[in-house]
C-alpha cells in the first residue's frame, strides 16, 4: 500500500515536471515569510507546487552527501550517500480542513517511512484537531528537520538518538496558536502509540530510543495499550526568538498480555527545551535544543542500559555574503558552527560509585552556499569524541562531509 502511494506521488511529481514546459499549468507556493513562524508550523512552512486544478499540492526534498571519516587513524575511505528523499503531499479538503503528509525514503529506498500523514481540522485558531500519523512535538528538531533548512549534513546526535527524530506514530490531539503584537503563544497536546521494550533490548548495547522506530507495528496498534502523551508549549517574540518546552512520556514495556501480568509498568519520559532566534544586529541564527530522558529500567537489568540520558546541540549560522551570485539573486554564503553532546547513561556504577560515561561530544564547523533559501550546498568538518561506558580514552572520529540538499 505504502509503495503504491509512493508510486502515485512520484508519477504526480513527474507529471508536474512535464507540465513545467507550460508554466501556466503549475504554481509554486512559497511559504509566507512575513508571518511569525514557529517550529510547530514546519509542516506547513514548506514550498509546494500545485499543478493546474489538481486538488493536491506536492513537494519534497532530497539530500545527497559524501563523507570521508577516520576513526583513531583508520579510515574506510570516501563514501557517497543519499540518506533521504522525502515527498510531501498536502491538500485542502474543505475550508479549514487540510491533509498533510511526508513520506521518506531513506538510504536509497531501503527504508520507506510515512513520517507524517494527518488531517488537521481548524475549529478555531486556538483549537485545531489533528489525527493520523503525527510527529510528536518533543523538542524542535523532531518537527522541524527538513534537510534544506540546516547547514549541517549530519543531524544532531541528541535530537536523533535520545529523541529518536524523526519520531512519529499514530495518534490524535489538539493544537493552537494565539498571536498578539510581537508575540505568538502556541500549544500542542497529543495521545499516540508509544515506544516498546526494544529501547532496552537492542543491539546497540545501550538504552537506544531509535530501536523502537524499527517496530512498524506502532502504526497499527499500541505495543502495550498505554498511550504516549506529548505536550508542548512555546512562545515566540519577533525580536527575541522562540522558546519551547515539551514533555513526552508513557509506558514502554509489555506489562500485561492476555490478561496475565508480566511485569510492572515501566515508563520512558522526555523533557526538552528548545530555542531559536536570529540576532538582528549581525543576522546570526542561533538554534539549540536540550533533552533529558528518564527510563524505568528494571534494577536487576544491566547498568549497560542507562536510566537517564541527556544531550543537546547548539548551532550558530552566520551569513557572510548575501548578494546576487552566479545568476542567483538571493544567494548567501554562511559559516556555521555546531557543538553537540549526548550522554546515553547518566549515573554512577553501583560497584564503584564511579561515573558511567557512554558519551559523545562533537564540534562541527562548516560553510554553506545557498543559491536560494530552498537549496543548500554545504561542507562540514566533524570531530567527535566517543567515550565508552567505563570512560576509557575517547575514540576520536573525524572527517569531512560535503553535500547538497534542496526542496523541489
Amino acid at each position: 500500500m505504502k509503495r503504491f502511494f509512493l508510486l502515485s506521488m512520484l508519477l504526480a511529481i513527474a507529471g508536474i515536471a512535464a507540465a513545467q514546459r507550460d508554466t501556466a499549468l503549475f504554481k509554486r507556493i512559497v511559504p509566507d515569510s512575513g508571518r511569525l513562524h514557529m517550529n510547530m508550523d514546519a509542516v506547513y512552512n514548506r514550498p509546494f507546487v500545485q499543478a493546474g486544478k489538481l486538488p493536491a499540492t506536492l513537494g519534497g526534498y532530497v539530500e545527497a552527501n559524501s563523507a570521508y571519516f577516520s576513526e583513531n587513524g583508520v579510515s574506510e575511505g570516501l563514501s557517497f550517500q543519499l540518506p533521504r528523499l522525502t515527498l510531501f503531499v498536502a491538500s485542502t479538503i474543505r475550508q479549514r480542513i487540510k491533509f498533510l503528509s511526508e513520506i521518506e525514503l531513506e538510504e536509497g529506498g531501503r527504508e520507506i517511512n510515512i513520517e507524517f500523514a494527518s488531517v488537521d481540522v481548524e475549529l478555531d485558531p486556538l483549537l485545531n484537531f489533528r489525527g493520523g500519523i503525527i510527529m510528536n512535538p518533543i523538542g524542535a528538531f523532531n518537527q522541524n528537520h527538513d534537510g534544506p533548512k540546516w547547514e549541517f549534513i549530519s543531524r544532531p546526535v541528541a535530537a536523533t538518538t535520545i529523541i529518536p527524530a524523526t519520531w512519529s506514530t499514530v495518534g490524535f490531539g489538539v493544537f493552537g496558536k494565539y498571536a498578539q503584537d510581537n508575540w505568538v503563544w502556541a500549544y500542542e497536546a497529543y495521545l499516540s502509540n508509544g515506544f516498546d521494550d526494544k529501547i532496552i533490548n537492542n543491539n546497540q548495547n545501550r538504552t537506544w530510543m531509535p530501536a523502537s522506530k524499527t517496530n512498524a507495528e506502532r502504526f497499527e496498534e499500541s505495543f502495550n495499550g498505554a498511550p504516549l502523551i506529548t505536550l508542548k508549549g512555546a512562545v515566540r517574540h519577533r525580536r527575541f526568538g522562540e522558546v519551547g518546552i515539551s514533555w513526552m512520556g508513557g509506558v514502554y514495556n509489555k506489562y500485561r498480555e492476555d490478561g496475565i501480568d508480566l511485569d510492572q509498568k515501566r515508563r520512558v519520559d522526555f523533557l526538552a527545551l528548545d530555542y531559536n532566534t536570529r540576532l538582528s544586529k549581525w543576522n546570526t541564527a542561533i538554534t539549540g535544543e536540550w533533552v533529558w530522558a528518564f527510563i524505568g529500567v528494571p534494577p536487576t537489568y544491566t547498568q549497560q542500559y542507562g536510566r537517564r540520558q541527556q544531550g543537546g546541540f547548539i548551532d550558530l549560522v552566520q551569513p557572510v555574503i548575501q548578494q546576487p551570485m552566479l545568476g542567483w539573486n538571493q544567494a548567501t554564503i554562511n559559516v556555521a558552527l555546531r557543538g553537540e553532546y549526548a550522554d546515553y547513561n547518566v549515573g554512577r556504577f553501583i560497584e564503584t560509585g564511579g561515573n558511567i560515561y557512554d558519551q559523545v561530544t562533537a564540534i562541527v564547523p562548516g560553510i554553506s552556499f545557498r543559491p536560494s533559501g530552498q537549496t543548500v550546498l554545504r561542507a562540514n568538518y566533524r570531530y567527535a569524541w566517543h567515550r565508552d561506558l567505563l570512560g576509557n580514552p575517547a575514540k576520536k572520529i573525524a572527517g569531512f562531509q560535503f553535500g547538497i540538499s534542496t526542496y523541489f
Binding site: 587513524g73 515501566r266 536487576t300 544491566t302 549497560q304 560497584e351 564503584t352 560515561y357 573525524a398 569531512f400
Partner: protein
C-alpha cells in the same frame, strides 16, 4: 558571469578539496604499543578474514532477548567485559561459588559455578545460595592468549616444583583438570590420572580457548552452543543460540590477538626496574620468557614471547584465600596472571587500576603488597627497597 564569482567558486572548491585532502585534520592512530587489540603479525589473508569475523562477533555483536540473551546473564556481549581487549571492571566482575575444596562444586544443581546476577525484565536474577563460598573474578585481558595456548605442556612442567624441591619457597604446580566433552587435545598433551593441565582462568581450571569461549557464552551471556547446550536458567539442553562457526571465529580471534608490546624498554629507570624484578625473584612465578611449540597458525609456532607468567598455581596466602576454588587448586592457590599489558590496564578499566583477581588493588604498588604465601618473601624485599627503587620497579611493570 563576472571574474569575481568565478574566483569565489574556485576558492570554495579549492577549500573543499583541501579539506578532503588534509590528513592532518584527521585523528592519528595511537601507537601500536599503546593498544592491546590488533592481530599478531604474519597472518595470512584467510587468517585475517577469520580474525575480522571473530573481531565483529566478539566486539560488536550484542545479544538481546530475541537472539538468546539470558534470561539470566552477566553481560550482553563479549566486548562488554573486555573493553579494547583489556581487563574488566568491577561492573563486569563475575561471582563464582560453591566449591570450597578440591572435591568438586557442591552447588552445581543450585546454579553453580557462576552467579548470573542480571536478568531480562520479568525474570529474577540468581541469588547466592546460603552457605556457598564464593569469589569474585575480574575479567582478564585477552591479549596474547594464542601464545599462552601454544606453550607445550612439557614447557609448563619445567617451571613446576610442586614439592619445592629446590627450597626457594616457590612451588608452582599445574591445575590438573578433567577435559570438557568437546574440543581436542594439544598434540603434546600430558595426562595424569585422566586429567590434563589447565592454563586459563584465575584458577587455571580451563583447558583451552574453545572451552573458555563456549563457557563464557553460556555462563556470562546465557547463550547456548553445540559445545555448551544447557540453558543456565532452565538447566535443559536447548537449541544452539550461536553457531559453531561463530564460536570458532571468536576462538581464532582470541588466539591471534597480538601480544602486548613493551614501552620504554630502553629507559634506564625501566631497565633498573627490570633488574630489581629479577633480584626480588618476582620472576620465579612471573616467568618473563616462554616459548610456543608447534601451532597450526604459523604466526604462533615456535615463538619466544614475554608474558611474565608460568601459568601455574601458587599459594598466595590466607589474605587472598576467598574460600572458593576450581579443579584441583586449593582455595589459597591462584594461577600466576600474565603481567604483559599491565601498564595499559587503566585504558580498559576507566582510567583506574582494578588489579588482583577481584580488582581489590587500586594500584600496582597495592597489588604487590597484597602478595602473600609463596610471594611473601618477594613482597618483603619490595618493602625494603628505597622509594626510588620501588618507583623503578613500578615503572618497569607499567612499561609491560
Amino acid at each position: 558571469m563576472s571574474n569575481k564569482y568565478i574566483w569565489a567558486t574556485g576558492v570554495i572548491l579549492l577549500l573543499v578539496i583541501a579539506m578532503m585532502a588534509c590528513q592532518k585534520m584527521l585523528p592519528r592512530a595511537p601507537a601500536d604499543d599503546r593498544l592491546l587489540d590488533g592481530p599478531v603479525a604474519e597472518l595470512s589473508t584467510e587468517q585475517h578474514i577469520q580474525f575480522l569475523r571473530g573481531d565483529v562477533a566478539f566486539n560488536d555483536e550484542v545479544f538481546t532477548a530475541e537472539t538468546g540473551l539470558g534470561p539470566l546473564f552477566i553481560a550482553t556481549s563479549c566486548g562488554s567485559c573486555h573493553a579494547g581487549d583489556g581487563k574488566g571492571h568491577p561492573f563486569t566482575t563475575l561471582t563464582r561459588f560453591g566449591q570450597p575444596d578440591t572435591l568438586g562444586n557442591r552447588f552445581l544443581q543450585r546454579g553453580g559455578p557462576q552467579l548470573q546476577h542480571r536478568a531480562l525484565p520479568g525474570f529474577l536474577p540468581e541469588q547466592l545460595p546460603a552457605g556457598a563460598t564464593f569469589s569474585r573474578f575480574m575479567p582478564p585481558a585477552n591479549t596474547g592468549l594464542g601464545f599462552l595456548d601454544a606453550v607445550p605442556d612439557a614447557e609448563l612442567l619445567k617451571h613446576a616444583d610442586p614439592d619445592d624441591a629446590d627450597g626457594d619457597g616457590i612451588s608452582g604446580r599445574p591445575n590438573w583438570i578433567p577435559l570438557p566433552g568437546y574440543g581436542s587435545l594439544r598434540p603434546d598433551a600430558i595426562q595424569r590420572n585422566g586429567r590434563y593441565i589447565g592454563r586459563f582462568g584465575k584458577k587455571a581450571a580451563v583447558y583451552d580457548l574453545l572451552q573458555q569461549t563456549a563457557s563464557a557464552y553460556n555462563q556470562d551471556m546465557g547463550i547456548t552452543s553445540a559445545y555448551e547446550p544447557h540453558d543456565t536458567y532452565s538447566g535443559q539442553a536447548i537449541d544452539p543460540e550461536i553457531g559453531t562457526s561463530k564460536v570458532l571465529d571468536v576462538v581464532f580471534y582470541l588466539k591471534t590477538l597480538k601480544a602486548p608490546l613493551q614501552r620504554n624498554a630502553e629507559n634506564p629507570e625501566v631497565k633498573a626496574g627490570r633488574q630489581l624484578f629479577l633480584e626480588l625473584r618476582c620472576s620465579s612465578c612471573h616467568v618473563p620468557e616462554l616459548k610456543t611449540g608447534y601451532s597450526p597458525v604459523a604466526a604462533l609456532s615456535f615463538k619466544v614471547f614475554y608474558p611474565y607468567t608460568d601459568l601455574l598455581l601458587h599459594d598466595m596466602g590466607p589474605e587472598l584465600n576467598d574460600g572458593y576454588t576450581e579443579g584441583t587448586a586449593l582455595p589459597e592457590e591462584w594461577r600466576t596472571p600474565p603481567l604483559w599489558g599491565l601498564g595499559l590496564s587503566m585504558n580498559a578499566q576507566g582510567g583506574k587500576y582494578f588489579l588482583m583477581h577481584d580488582g581489590r588493588a587500586g594500584s600496582i604498588r597495592e597489588a604487590i603488597l597484597m602478595h602473600g604465601g609463596e610471594a611473601q618473601q618477594s613482597r618483603n624485599r619490595f618493602r625494603q627497597l628505597t622509594e626510588p627503587e620501588q618507583q623503578q620497579l613500578l615503572w618497569f611493570l607499567e612499561s609491560l
